[in-house]
């Protein structure tokens, strides 16, 4: 009975075993933070394997689900320790007029398995719905996927409407999808462009960190 065994169960996507082992570890009084930090490493490994297609989407999905089960068992213990906050809250969707969702779904999986809380609005999502849902969720990030030249303008539209509503500073807007580029992100004033799902969690964490740093520097200056 060890954290290693649990990691292995998560890696192989064995939900039942993962749940059982997590519960036992909790009963034995193992530090939930220690478990989480091991699991982050496991998920990183799985993500890397998937990036190289040594494993495929269904396997990554199973590991992701096994991990969610574990997190559910751990979360009351984490809360008691004042930890266990998600790394960020994300509203995710494919923009209006666009039905392509494969990339977006992979991003969702990657973020969730890296301890982000994600609300997926699906495809063909109106720009105002991204914003309304972000308001309701208290999101940190709006993630918009677009796969077509004819729907890219909606990524800009989200940012424009945020500005007009005076909400631009409240959310980080992250964009992706095959036709998007850093250049396009700069043009429309997006906070971040991610070339693929694998890099998304790290890039978003960095973005949130630099924002926090900036904010605290400003605070200090004041």
């Amino acid at each position: 009975m060890s954290v290693e065994e649990l990691c292995q169960a998560v890696e192989t996507g064995d939900q039942k075993k993962s749940k059982l082992l997590a519960q036992k570890l909790m009963d034995e009084g193992t530090d939930p933070l220690k478990i989480i930090s091991s699991l982050i490493k496991v998920m990183g490994k799985i993500g890397d394997k998937f990036s190289r297609l040594e494993i495929f989407l269904p396997e990554m999905m199973m590991s992701g689900e096994a991990m969610s089960e574990v997190v559910q068992i751990l979360s009351p213990h984490l809360k008691r320790k004042g930890a266990g906050q998600p790394k960020g809250r994300v509203i995710l969707g494919t923009v209006k007029g666009d039905l392509h969702d494969i990339g977006k779904n992979i991003v969702k999986l990657m973020l969730e398995s890296n301890f982000f809380e994600v609300k997926d609005l699906g495809v063909d999502v109106d720009s105002t719905d991204f914003i309304k849902e972000a308001e309701t969720m208290g999101a940190d990030i709006i993630g918009a996927s677009s796969l077509m030249s004819t729907t890219l303008p909606h990524q800009k539209e989200i940012i424009d409407i945020l500005k007009e509503l005076g909400l631009r500073g409240k959310y980080k807007v992250v964009i992706g999808g095959a036709p998007t580029t850093q250049e396009w992100a700069d043009d429309i004033g997006a906070d971040l462009y991610c070339p693929d799902a694998g890099s998304a969690p790290k890039l978003i964490i960095n973005l949130l960190k630099t924002t926090l740093k900036k904010a605290s520097m400003e605070e200090m200056e004041r």
């Binding site: 297609l53 666009d98 699906g122 030249s149 004819t150 729907t151 095959a178 036709p179």
Partner: protein, 460 residues
């Protein structure tokens, strides 16, 4: 004759089929069943032989695809219900399907027929750059493609703007762009002397409204032309797609079912892609009433299908469908490399070779990972179609095809991940005359000579 299979009985199942949460459909229904049939029918990928010659494997694959389709059904993301089709219905649809269609009109009409494995009839050749393009290049690209002698059908590039205005999907700008798209096509077809040529149009219409707006036998998409209607990867559809299905059948044009099973995605590996290709063909026939299926399986990271893990499923699925049905299906090439690179020519040649020998019709060629504007030309498609005609005419066997495929793979497979992206159309074609530059043509000729040395007997 074309008879959309029990159109309204099937449509109604969007409202009466079993309910399922969308998040559960793929992981809980599709994936386990797919894994089960791969095991049950002993489907095993063999990287050493990208073109297997195993009839029994082909027949088992057919069974596996059939069972997957029957058991899983197609999920409607608008109604959250699963459309299911019974064994008896699949049999009836297959029995009543036609194995040939006259497409195009007047002197340009062509008879498009079901092919067999190692068939000596050349494949039906649909040229398509599968890319978007700038407004000022659209007409020239239409001309350049329609000038191609082996072209049986054409699917033009997608306009990004019209009258200088960016096209927005599902908006009035899209209807405007769709109109411009078909007018460009009609004029180009007339100017090259092929006014009735078979068109698959219009790609600029990404929404159903754009498609419906350009159905017109005088100036628009004719009833002798075709539309392709997507199935959402994997095994899903939506009402906007059914709007097109119903419109096309009532209008009376041909329907192709567009599917892109993903290697590395929900299908898993090569075995899964192969099974799903077969299942999608039944789905196209039974649920969209499609006259043909247009398949572009692709690699999750590379958006290409010219490496062996994708060639193998193409090869076995073709054999499965040829031996067990009289359906029509096109193999849509997706290359890693971009225009005016030798790699793109090799990739296209290889994709066309494998597809033709295993019974497919050809739809060539998306290049540069199908990602960049203006980055495709008729010349790579030409080499593919020429290879298709040559290997059919010479009666190439699967064993011979396998050998040449391995040689071709040797030339480019290791560069799949960092392939050269090449140049844009206007950099390797003369925009005014719509002809390739000398440098581009010479490269094509060089590769063609090399292919001839490998044993492909081009008639010219």
């Amino acid at each position: 004759m074309s008879n959309p299979y029990r159109l309204w009985e099937i449509q109604q199942r969007s409202n009466t089929g079993p309910f399922c949460d969308e998040n559960d459909f793929l992981p809980k229904i599709f994936v386990p069943k797919l894994k089960e049939v791969i095991k049950k029918y002993e489907i095993k990928y063999d990287p050493k032989n990208p073109v297997p010659a195993d009839d029994d494997l082909a027949d088992r694959l057919w069974q596996a695809g059939w069972e997957l389709f029957r058991e899983v059904g197609l999920y409607n993301t608008d109604t959250h219900r699963i459309i299911k089709v019974s064994d008896e219905e699949i049999k009836e649809a297959l029995y009543t399907a036609s194995d040939r269609y006259w497409v195009g009109s007047g002197k340009d009409a062509v008879l498009w027929k079901h092919r067999q494995v190692e068939d000596t009839e050349p494949p039906f050749c649909i040229f398509s750059p599968d890319c978007t393009c700038s407004e000022e290049l659209h007409y020239s690209m239409c001309l350049a493609f329609l000038k191609e002698p082996l072209l049986d059908g054409f699917c033009a590039p997608i306009l990004e703007d019209s009258m200088g205005l960016k096209i927005l999907s599902a908006s009035p700008f899209e209807i405007n762009g769709s109109t411009q798209h078909i007018y460009n096509l009609r004029l180009a077809a007339k100017q090259v002397g092929r006014p009735g040529v078979f068109l698959v149009a219009v790609g600029t219409a990404e929404h159903d409204s754009g498609q419906i707006a350009v159905s017109n036998n005088e100036w628009g998409v004719r009833t002798s032309d075709s539309r392709i209607i997507g199935t959402l990867t994997e095994f899903k559809t939506a009402d906007t797609l059914f709007n097109r299905v119903v419109h096309c059948h009532q209008y009376g044009c041909y329907v192709g079912n567009l599917t892109g099973p993903i290697y590395g995605g929900w299908c898993g590996g090569s075995e899964g892609v192969a099974v799903v290709l077969v299942a999608y063909s039944l789905n196209g026939l039974c649920i969209y009433g499609a006259n043909y299926n247009q398949h572009f399986p692709f690699h999750l990271n590379w958006v290409s299908n010219t490496t062996r893990e994708l060639l193998w499923p193409i090869a076995v699925a073709g054999q499965a469908m040829a031996r067990n049905s009289k359906l029509l299906y096109t193999s849509n090439g997706f290359a890693n490399a971009g225009p005016m690179t030798e790699m793109l020519f090799y990739e296209t040649a290889c994709h066309a070779l494998v597809s033709t020998v295993t019974s497919w019709h050809l739809w060539e060629m998306a290049s540069a990972r199908n990602k960049f504007r203006n980055r495709a030309t008729p010349l790579e498609a030409r080499i593919g179609m020429e290879v298709g005609h040559a290997v059919a005419r010479q009666g190439m066997t699967r064993e011979q095809a396998n050998e040449i495929t391995l040689k071709l793979l040797d030339k480019y497979e290791s560069r799949a991940a960092d392939a050269p992206m090449g140049v844009e159309y206007q950099e390797c074609y003369d925009v005014a005359t719509a002809l390739p530059t000398q440098e581009h043509f010479d490269m094509y000729r060089r590769v063609k000579d090399e292919l001839a040395e490998m044993g492909i007997e081009f008639p010219y």
